[in-house]
Symmetry: C2
Subunit: 1017 residues, 2 copies
Amino acid sequence: MEQHLDARIVERGKEFFKSISGEAPSIFNKGFWTGKVMDWAMQNEGFKVQLFRFVDVLPYLNTSEALTRHIREYFSADGADVPPVLKWGAGAAGFGGAFTGMLMGKFIRSNIEGMARTFIIGENTKEAIKGLAKLRKEGFAFTVDLLGEATVSEEEADAYRDGYLEVLDAIAKEHAKWAPLTDSTGTTAGGSGGPDASQDWGHTPKVNVSIKPSALYSQAKPGDVEGSVQGMMSRLVPIYRKIVAMGGFLCIDMEQLKYREMTLELFKRLRTMPEFRDYPHLSIVLQAYLRCTEHDLDELLAWGRAERLPFGIRLVKGAYWDYETVMAKQNGWEIPVWTRKPESDICYEKLARRILENNDLVYFACASHNVRTISTVMETARALNVPAHRYEFQVLYGMAEPVRKGLKNVAGRVRLYCPYGELIPGMAYLVRRLLENTANESFLRQSFVDGAELERLLENPQATLERELAAAPPPRSTPAAQPGIDGLPPFVNESMLDLTIPANRTGFVNAIADVRGKAGGVIPLFIGGKDVTTDDTIASTNPAKPAEVIARVCQGGKPEVDAAIEAAQKAFPAWRDTSPADRAMFLHRAADIARRRMFELSAWQVLEVGKQWDQAFHDVGEGIDFLDYYAHEMLRLGAPRRMGRAPGELNHLFYQPKGIAAVIAPWNFPFAIAIGMAAAAIVTGNPVIFKPSSIASRIGYNLTEIFREAGLPEGVFNYVPGRSSVMGDYLVEHPQVSMICFTGSMEVGLRIQEKAAVVQPGQMQCKRVIAEMGGKNAIIIDDDADLDEAVLQVLNSAFGFQGQKCSACSRVIVLDPIYDRFVERLVKAAQAIKIGPSEDPANYMGPVADASLQKNILEYVKVAEQEGKVLVKRTDIPAEGCYVPLTIVEGIKPHHRIAQEEIFGPVLAVMRAGSFDEALAIANGTRFALTGGVFSRSPENLAKARRDFRVGNLYLNRGSTGAMVERQPFGGFKMSGVGSKTGGPDYLLQFMDPRCVTENTMRRGFAPIEEDDDWIG
Amino acid sequence: MEQHLDARIVERGKEFFKSISGEAPSIFNKGFWTGKVMDWAMQNEGFKVQLFRFVDVLPYLNTSEALTRHIREYFSADGADVPPVLKWGAGAAGFGGAFTGMLMGKFIRSNIEGMARTFIIGENTKEAIKGLAKLRKEGFAFTVDLLGEATVSEEEADAYRDGYLEVLDAIAKEHAKWAPLTDSTGTTAGGSGGPDASQDWGHTPKVNVSIKPSALYSQAKPGDVEGSVQGMMSRLVPIYRKIVAMGGFLCIDMEQLKYREMTLELFKRLRTMPEFRDYPHLSIVLQAYLRCTEHDLDELLAWGRAERLPFGIRLVKGAYWDYETVMAKQNGWEIPVWTRKPESDICYEKLARRILENNDLVYFACASHNVRTISTVMETARALNVPAHRYEFQVLYGMAEPVRKGLKNVAGRVRLYCPYGELIPGMAYLVRRLLENTANESFLRQSFVDGAELERLLENPQATLERELAAAPPPRSTPAAQPGIDGLPPFVNESMLDLTIPANRTGFVNAIADVRGKAGGVIPLFIGGKDVTTDDTIASTNPAKPAEVIARVCQGGKPEVDAAIEAAQKAFPAWRDTSPADRAMFLHRAADIARRRMFELSAWQVLEVGKQWDQAFHDVGEGIDFLDYYAHEMLRLGAPRRMGRAPGELNHLFYQPKGIAAVIAPWNFPFAIAIGMAAAAIVTGNPVIFKPSSIASRIGYNLTEIFREAGLPEGVFNYVPGRSSVMGDYLVEHPQVSMICFTGSMEVGLRIQEKAAVVQPGQMQCKRVIAEMGGKNAIIIDDDADLDEAVLQVLNSAFGFQGQKCSACSRVIVLDPIYDRFVERLVKAAQAIKIGPSEDPANYMGPVADASLQKNILEYVKVAEQEGKVLVKRTDIPAEGCYVPLTIVEGIKPHHRIAQEEIFGPVLAVMRAGSFDEALAIANGTRFALTGGVFSRSPENLAKARRDFRVGNLYLNRGSTGAMVERQPFGGFKMSGVGSKTGGPDYLLQFMDPRCVTENTMRRGFAPIEEDDDWIG
């Protein structure tokens, strides 16, 4: 039976191809410039990347100069493999003189814009209406979609809603004039109630609208599903009301996975609104490439049956495969999509059948350009006797002309997905379409360019998959299978918080309640493996609710420092002589414990320092990464290295610990930085005296709990909170302290450096100081920056965790030509974010960590107001708690205090630069050199920044915060730091002294020859 | 004809083998303990090494406890692959109780001593005479040789001479009683004058003596051929006189290559002494394994003909093949021996023929156990019609019984080489013989153990060689063919000075004369590429002749420092942005220039700071190594490293220079350390302000000359000599100086550290201080140390360059059981060395570098005299110049100043330790931790030292000085240094700040996938 069906599918496919023989999508037509360039792109991956990136930036190139410069930068670099039609242009731009270059630029621009217009039905409402009417005359139905930039503010969401309302108004005036479509294959497609002549094909509204819900609300995020759905609904309802009013059809698009849950909820909520409950023409998109879609489909079917509500489904393969895969890889998540193309095809066929089986409940739109898929749906529908009025076919406008023609020939009911809108979002849409068309797996490319055999094109995807799997081994191995550096298993970062998983959200809620229940106790010191209490305590409080005491922490003084150093000294010899592998094992064990307590450890941060969920989770994750990475690094560095290969002589270079390490930690990454410094000292064999910040001493005690449970020998880790004024210098100057690991302000860091450099009586070694200090970090916005990205990332870098990161962006340097557009969007975006307690995941920004910090920042806000012009000062903040207004000022000059001093709060200076070089000079013009960012799509400016933007961590087209262990070894120079980057390959070296042991192996003229000796041939 | 000869050789060989069929050397007899153990050793390389090392140490194991402990350490380590007969012993020693262990130890000792006795004719004169007489009764002639320890003092050389005189006296009393030998083959062997019945075989003296000339003079060295020959002659002449008196024969042995030239000269001088000119019975040994022996033979033949003096040649293959090869590899010399066994065999056959061709002049002794070689000599002699009385055959006593039997059968005239003497040198001799017997290439092993085919054993070595060469590729590749780390060509150390090459000696003599001619001029500063003179100058003088002015050096002050910093600041941006490869190229160019000026640069040191030839040469060589190594390292570190493999993100970690480096250099390695620090700063991109020591400013100017010629851009290297009191602090505190690279005393180093830690107004970065400071280095002499090595190495470590090295040994810690023996030899050795101007290569020790140092050391000598008991105080030193007495004191306790303070001169404290642990505690018991040494043959103590002797550079069974770039990265910790080892892989990191650039490569959901991305399978 299945065999039989498959044969019919193949038969149908062949018929389909036959009906369009000789046709090809216009994009592939080599007679035109476009086709030539596409052909080159498909043969040269490097050129393809350059081309698509150029297409992406093109609409930002408003001047002839900018256009010519970018053409040169993208296409005339050394070794660039560009097609002759572009070479001429690039050459002309380079040496043909300004005029020739300008002409060429114009030519290229007009060709690319022409390409974009192939896929877009119009740039404005008028053009769109005209285009839609034309399509209908050709016998195609449509679904119209408004292109939009990323919505970064509520104003932009309003504008997007208004765009829909505008086009709907225009359609409302026209649609009555449109003749209904008939099924060109002659199939009777009328519903049970008989065909309705006023509708297309007798059963479906002429007006069909698609919408991307994420654009309807700027603050949508998976951690706040309810808030996101409400935000979207508020703008979707008026749109839908207008559609319903004209008897139209709405399809809610499915976007990236992070919007999936809220989109499904949005759809259900809209469908069940009393006002719309009786209106059936609402559908939702499902993506066959997602592994979870089968589950979603079953859920929807059950829901529809329970609610007795018919609805529609548009089934697509999915358009964000690269994005989802890259994100999953970057964040350490399970890959949510099928990783092999035929798996998506199999899934599609399976889900399509299930939908068709439920055709009494669900109206099915098969959206695919794949002839095999289309044939399968047609033959399955026929086999299941699905009435023609219960399903239709959809393809993208402008993309697969032969398929749409074939569909019209073979299937009759064809709807084109028609985006319309301005060229900036249009280019982004164009790039996505070009990518699809030119991918190796593209059905269109295989069919119309590569000329794959018909049998292969129409093959059952199950068979394709089996063939692919049989062709082992896979082209690239998985990370687990790939040995890491030096034969050690590779270090793997802890996963980022995935709030699309409901359990992670409830985990947080429960952990916060749990921790709150445990708060308020007295926390002892931990010295030599024993709890030690003192009379003096300091209360640590919740900055969002200053009355809530998190813990009362005992305070150590000089006697406790002495006791801790004695304990450490006692522990030192045995710990030093513990093998690197065994020391590393304790760190891995500590990592496992922290991993088990992930939510709880995060919750302490939410309550004690006011960190947002994700920031707190990532802080703990970073701490775990430090534990695992330094353990891994110690194994690498712990193996003695043979030096030289001379026979008769064995030289081994290895490292030994320095001695007692004083670890003086900050409050802003109270777990990660603290445990990172401690772990580095410990794994290299140095006992630790750990002094947490008084603002985060309870979190500091988490280290004690973890190392204690991990079974670290007594005295190796000692927890000694205390007042800096009482015991700070004493600890630093102690003759038995060999090194000081500090992270904090420049003032304290420099004081430590001075104190530690003076050799005290009885001191047996020069002290090593590792000091991570401040930053005054800038992000440069180049005139061709992608503002969709830049605005959100600057916002996140400046105001994430209230700007209390040494990596935070406190200066944004904007190039003149883009200044107004950027600042406008930034300001509106800053006004949109929610401010309130960090324990509510809906809030973007919370209180600063304590009242003294609040006071300091408020003073800087005053300075900012004096030195610059206030663009944003959010006074809509809670009255109780350590809140400060989110502040953005412009008109800041390099000499201003706001441009030079570290504020460590949500105060952002906007500075204007006349050129990229000037921007770099401003960026480099402080005593600090920690992080920086650049948003640019100019290859030359990116290269220049790479070279000349001299900071410890520079981010290109990314925000300036969020360095990950190993991937972005972190730390700066100048007054930002002394010592090498944390989480990097040189970090542990600082905790050890190198030794070299040379053995003369020759005795009596005889030396055993080693395998790696430089011996005679 | 040749073909015909070869056939006859093979025929003769077969006959030879046939005559001894069924025989095997006793050493291989598996019926005995020895044979079993040898069999195991030949199958297990690891066991062989352990066994031979154990045999070597055995005579030092004077107590049952020491014996049992060593058996356990050598043979019961985990995974040790030992034969059952030893396992039982090891097990017994381990758990069988003390008594069983003791018994087993005795058993093993007696077996091994028995093995030694197989090869030694007797342990004293009486036994020897008895043994020789017995041999003669068996029909064998002898040549007797006195075994000896390495001669480290003139007393020992006297004792060696006296040993010969004693045995000769004993022989003189006996030899008349011995019946002359006849040629057992019946060949008429009489000379032209007819057979002499009083002589063996009618033509050669019954008394035949062999002697190793190096043992006759403790100060023999290739740099002083004339002095060495005279030293040897003074003791050889009385011996020879006694031999001649009884009508005996003397053969002068050839030893290591370093003695070759003086041995040839010694032979010629003895042969031509008027007193002996008419006495023909003197011969010399030539070694066929040396590539230069053919040349030596031709020289000797020409000399003999010119002088009309007949003489003898004993031709051997050579016994130091491993040693010569290892030394050449370690020192970067051409390998002087043939590297393939058949090459030596070919050479032997060729030289034997030439000797036989000259049988009218030369009496030939063919010394070989190789039946092919023997047969060749026999057949060649027959073919050339060489009379039987012009050649004989020699084999080693106890080693090749079947061969000696066969020789007697086939060739008749067989002489056995008979060593006699005590067990300590006897064991060393045994080890050499065991090595020969068990080597894969050993003819005896191949013949009597491996059972190689006769055809193969008798094959013409030319054919063997061709076969070997055809079997390409060679088993181990040569260094040039082997790619280095990270794909870069490997770094290769500059060769050590080879004073066996006469051109190197004349090179030095000429360079010193040349430099002396150039001395005395005014040396300007060098700032921003220009010479700058000042009114203030300091005269640098020759410490051996204080009146000799080497240079008048202009002295910079604050204005010159400012000017230099301004020049450096100006040069910085361009130099920073010069690619690592281009910066490295300048260093390689500087290295080439220095290499060209090798002798001249060395000569400046001989004259300005009083360095000995070899020390000066190695200083320059080390400087060249620093240039090449840091250039190489910069290429390694200069390549940005991708961090992480997440797709859509490219992280690159790389380094940038810190800024201006102040390089403050010492006078003791005035070229190497100065140019090393400067080169590291320069190649990493940092401009340098170089302040040389005032004691070595002229040598410092060599850097200027070299960098200038290398074309380094202006301002990158600035030469600013000056008075520390005037400009030292100013330079260190200068806000524009980013780092200070210092090598010198602890006091100055700590002062720099303190000053540099204070941030000055206008300072933009925290300063990095790299300070290599002092040492108080100890060498431990374990109770089983090989004193032949230990005495010479301690001497060299303590008094090389007058002890003016931070790595110099200033404490020798001797274990109680060996204390007296070691100290006695050390003291006598210290008394033997020559003290005088360093420009005379005969002198071992010279003046200290200037008068202020001299004064300081003389004060320490007083302290030493007060704190301890003087063992040596050499007052036989030149009156003029900065000489101080070489001083050794004993009775020094750990708290003494002499045990704690760095003296930087030739003052050595001897300390006594009751146990190895106590020795380690004493060694570690100072504020310093720079170098150290251990002489021990206890595997456990060596392992313990490796772990617990906590110094930067530890040397096992080697002296504590002479670290080489890359092979022994150099530097210490505690108060010995701040910073990582020079010439090591971490050194350059200190001159740079790490940066990480992260590029988000995803645009519009599309990220190009990189080759090394962690992408899906």
